[in-house]
Symmetry: C2
Subunit: 420 residues, 2 copies
């Protein structure tokens, strides 16, 4: 394979996570150290920054400061939710991107995000190939939802899972402290895949946790749910329920929509229904049904940005994914997403980076296998525990200053195109 000499650009897209910057840093640092990559640019707010010629020069950052990216939550370069048009219908954005590639002599394109981002990466790769512009395009996965196809798991999932399991353990202690009855409903993120909600089971595995766990993989039956909570509450005067925001009934109606039926539900720019408020909705319903004190808790943004509770395994693997994207691209690979292939033989966990076809990854959703969910559909079994537990090991090595996290502060020096 011939050495491809030129600049690299990296962008971050979609909902952030606690470790997306660890991946970006893995790519940036490896690219800065590479002898074929001439310049390393960051897109401000993902593809939007590339379209608007809003790039920063990563070499201008202080190396020690830049290294703090590894432990800083959210997307340090800024994110976006911009969907590229189908190039067969509208080539405008692609032509603009090609201009930018030429202007900065960009030969390496790294895009760090979820399935929509892999779709973006794939479309750009295909367009450039058709137009004879040589650029190596690599996807670096990120999604707390853990729903990307192919890879064993996604960077970002484990840290969110660790925060959720930890919080459920802590809330369990709080919610069962009184001599009086109490029902608690905790809502986790996850539109179509219940990985994050399933992580609540880790709390029960090691200590005391949820009585009931509901994932979107199984149809939710409100009457059965209420009856089950009532039964548990009658037995022990306490009940802790963890639900995914995306639970729906057998007709596919989101349970959260029960409260707004008739009104049109808000949708994001990808057409996803905007959910929320499920915990308080279910809490109110259970209060009416039982007369108990009921509390609804939405973990909200905390679960995807709680870097102080990140898994060091997740951080290290995320970094490795970013590094592997650059290493592979430099070695000649293009049009692939870096993912993980893992083994868990005899309790020994091993994780290696592996490459996946972007076309397979883009817009596919991997769900929690039915065989890891109990028959009743209100809990998970050992299969899930064995899968998830290795991923949350290790406490973050986050730098603490004055008792609080010391996150990165980038200078963000505007990139200057090389002289022609």
């Amino acid at each position: 394979m011939e050495k491809l000499i030129g600049a690299a650009v990296i962008g971050q897209s979609g909902g952030p996570s606690s470790v997306i910057n660890a991946s970006a840093y893995g790519a940036i640092k490896t690219a800065l150290d590479s002898d074929v990559i001439t310049n390393v640019y960051g897109m401000c707010h993902g593809i939007v920054g590339l379209l608007n010629d809003d790039l920063i020069d990563m070499s201008k950052e202080d190396p020690d400061e830049l290294a703090l990216m590894k432990y800083t939550p959210s997307s340090a370069l800024g994110s976006c939710r911009y969907k590229l048009a189908d190039p067969d219908e509208d080539e405008t954005d692609y032509i603009k991107i090609l201009e930018m590639f030429k202007k900065y002599n960009i030969r390496y394109f790294f895009y760090n995000g979820g399935n929509d981002s892999m779709d973006t990466c794939n479309k750009i790769s295909k367009f450039m190939l058709r137009n004879g512009y040589e650029v190596r395009c690599m996807g670096i996965p990120k999604t707390i939802d853990n729903d990307l196809a192919g890879t064993d798991h996604c960077p970002g999932f484990a840290s969110a899972a660790k925060f959720i399991a930890t919080s459920v353990m802590e809330v369990y202690r709080d919610a069962t402290v009184y001599d009086k009855g109490m029902i608690t409903v905790i809502e986790c993120m996850g539109r179509h895949a219940g990985w994050l909600t399933a992580a609540a089971s880790l709390a029960g595995y090691l200590g005391k946790g949820a009585d009931l766990i509901y994932l979107p993989e199984v149809d939710f039956d409100m009457d059965k749910f209420v009856a089950k909570v009532k039964k548990i509450y009658a037995e022990k005067q306490k009940c802790l329920v963890v639900v995914s925001e995306g639970i729906h009934d057998k007709d596919g109606t989101f349970i959260t929509e029960y409260q707004t039926q008739g009104a049109a539900a808000a949708k994001d720019s990808f057409g996803h229904t905007q959910l929320g408020g499920l915990a308080s909705f279910l809490a109110n319903r259970l209060k009416a049904e039982t007369g108990a004190k009921v509390r609804g808790i939405e973990l909200s943004l905390l679960q995807r940005c709680a870097a102080h509770c990140a898994s060091q395994t997740d951080i290290d693997e995320s970094y490795a994914a970013g590094k592997a994207a650059v290493d592979n691209a430099v070695a000649g690979v293009t049009d692939r997403m870096v993912g993980f292939a893992c083994t868990r033989e005899n309790g020994k966990y091993e994780c290696k980076t592996e490459l996946f076809e972007l076309t397979i990854v883009a817009n596919t959703e991997k769900k929690v296998p039915r065989e890891w969910i109990n028959e009743e559909g209100d809990g998970v079994n050992q299969g899930f525990i064995d899968y998830c537990l290795p991923l949350i090991q290790g406490q973050t090595q986050l730098k603490i200053e004055n008792g609080l996290p010391r996150f990165v502060n980038l200078k963000k020096v505007k990139a200057v195109p090389p002289k022609a």
Copy 2:
């Protein structure tokens, strides 16, 4: 002072915190090691356990397991919200308590809680004195609200403050990541005192944090608030607001009551109005006013049980408060609460335990001084930072097992009264 030989009993009451067990452990361990304290009993669910002869024998616990109490959130002995009657009106409970004291030869009474608990402690102490039963009664403070009079600060406050400041730092990163506008409203606990909400300012001090902070110490003006958010949003397309659950207008009406006016607000057994849902109420209002994407986040129970993010300073001081209660009682002191006297000369923080009159502490609320709040009433100044920052130092030494906290599991062996 004559040595008082007999048993000790300890109970926990009121809303739990991340470190109330550190205090209880400080008292239990010191009592177990004492040569005048013959037995150490724990009340199951505070004073309710004492009234119902539901006591456990702390000497039956494995010492290594018991030591995990120091890092376990919530109240390991169980809590209650039981208000003792005024003894001038109804002596029933006090007579029952006296019977229990005699049955177990209890000569040391330790009660671990907030201002209502100090009131309980005070009433029991006075009743026993009037009835000629020698027992030394000591209050061990706990309240994340930090509103107890006399003491520099309260055990439990700093850990909640550390979690709040950390979470605001993290949510700031998340809530400002997109190229599109976003307004975020975070709701903290604090009915009448804004200490916890003020702690959000620590995030801004060290990194990037809240634009506006509203405490119950200053009357809240909805129109002024909306105008201010609109102005900040127009300038930078982002606005992060932190509010106390207890903010109210100049007429004393809680802002959260604006959404339920006409309906009677729920009250707890102490007659406190039950608040909640403020973040989403304000978020909806701001969405209607600005058209921006707005997110409301209620930190809910997480802020008072997030032991994984506790301040080691808080843990150590809480332990010291429990220990001091026993040491002082054994030395002859009674009818006092242990608190802290601190100095912060030239940035050097020192904290010593000190004793306070229970009558002064009970049912008094210490608020954030007006001079620590800015003139506009929408932020705090260096005075608060200098006060609070030393308290949140040190990361918890919490034991981790399999990537998750290893909290205490007590056997709770039922206490047997000594032979007469």
